[in-house]
């Protein structure tokens, strides 16, 4: 499993179906990840689309030294932070649309979080600070290694390790006795 690198190589060689495979494999995970930052499922989807279009526009920017998933998450994180930096005002959602947004978010979560254990943790990490939220997401939901998570978050392995340790500690407090078994 090379997390899309071989598919992307095939896409660069002219196989259009390879891009479908990449989208199939990584798109929803990326939207879910970006949503951790922007807290808006539609914006996250929009940013994920832009991230994927980067793969087509800047074809040779990806150097195959990291997995395609790691690369996409790095670009996605940059786009999310860029969006947050340039967002002038908070987006207000109409009450009529709020239900739809919540429903979309829930359906994505259901798709991404198959087991009960992950759903409980997902609900709990919403109360954590952003960095902790992201590190838990990358390690527990995306099954990334510490190295890959460090690359996405632009930190070193030790920082990721410390951040994860503190995040777990916080989660244990939030989840109580159940947390011991979940983490």
């Amino acid at each position: 499993m090379d997390n899309g690198a071989s598919s992307y190589r095939r896409f660069l060689n002219g196989d259009q179906s390879a891009f479908d495979e990449i989208m199939q494999e990584l798109f929803h995970g990326l939207v879910f990840f970006i949503n951790r930052y922007v807290q808006d499922i539609h914006t996250a989807e929009d940013l994920a689309i832009d991230t994927f279009s980067d793969l087509i526009v800047h074809r040779h920017r990806y150097n195959f030294k990291v997995t395609l998933k790691t690369y996409l998450f790095m670009v996605g994180r940059s786009r999310a932070l860029d969006y947050l930096r340039h967002r002038k005002v908070l987006n207000f959602v109409e009450l009529s649309e709020a239900d739809a947004v919540a429903s979309d978010t829930q359906s994505l979560e259901e798709r991404m979080l198959a087991d009960e254990r992950k759903r409980v943790v997902n609900a709990a990490i919403a109360q954590l600070p952003e960095d902790m939220r992201v590190v838990i997401h990358l390690i527990y939901f995306e099954n990334m290694t510490y190295d890959e998570a460090a690359k996405v978050m632009k930190k070193n392995k030790k920082q990721v390790d410390n951040l994860l340790y503190r995040a777990k500690k916080e989660l244990r407090i939030i989840l109580g006795e159940d947390g011991e078994q979940l983490l």
């Binding site: 891009f19 989208m23 199939q24 989807e45 689309i49 087509i56 526009v57 979309d104």
Partner: protein, 223 residues
Amino acid sequence: MRNLDECKAEVFRRSEERIRKRKKTQKYMLALGSTFAFCATVCSVLVVSGILNMGYETAEKDNQMLWEDEIPNTDNIQDTNDMPNSDVQDVLESTGCLYVQVDVETYGESHMNSHTVTDETQVAGLFEMIQNIFDNEDAVLREESPDFETIMYQNGNQDDSNDLSGGSSFKNMEYVIRFKTSNETYQIYLLNRGVLLDFTKKKALVLTGEELLDLKTAIAMEE
């Protein structure tokens, strides 16, 4: 939330749009760069040609100044014998060298008078008068004008072309008019029995009565 196919279509649509925009920007930058390069080339060509022109003019001026510096005074001419009088005249004409003094020597049977005029206006006026006499169309057509060498020989003067400053060479002449420049270069005219001789150009001209009278009046001037 859109389904995966819609998202895929959106990805390709945005990609095409971005590629189109990027190509447009590249073309714009290329056009801008070409224009800038063209302007820079034209400007540099103009500047370089200007500098070269200036350098050429400076070099010409330097050469001219060098030439002026190299014009030897009459002593040098006498010693080295390397500069004919006609060359001296050419140099004077080309450099626009001004005469600053005129010595007029008047020879009688047994005496010699001389006076010097240093007023530049008077000197220039006299020089112009003599020049006008020689340049006069009427003067050119005067066929009876005698040969310079003959007159010099008849008067017992040697044609020592190099001795421009010589004082005693022209003792058989009635008048010796010696123009002098600031750098000690001479232009000599002789007047004898109504004949004006340009010693430098070796020309002789018979003056009309009026010309002779005017010239004698002019050379009689005192400061």
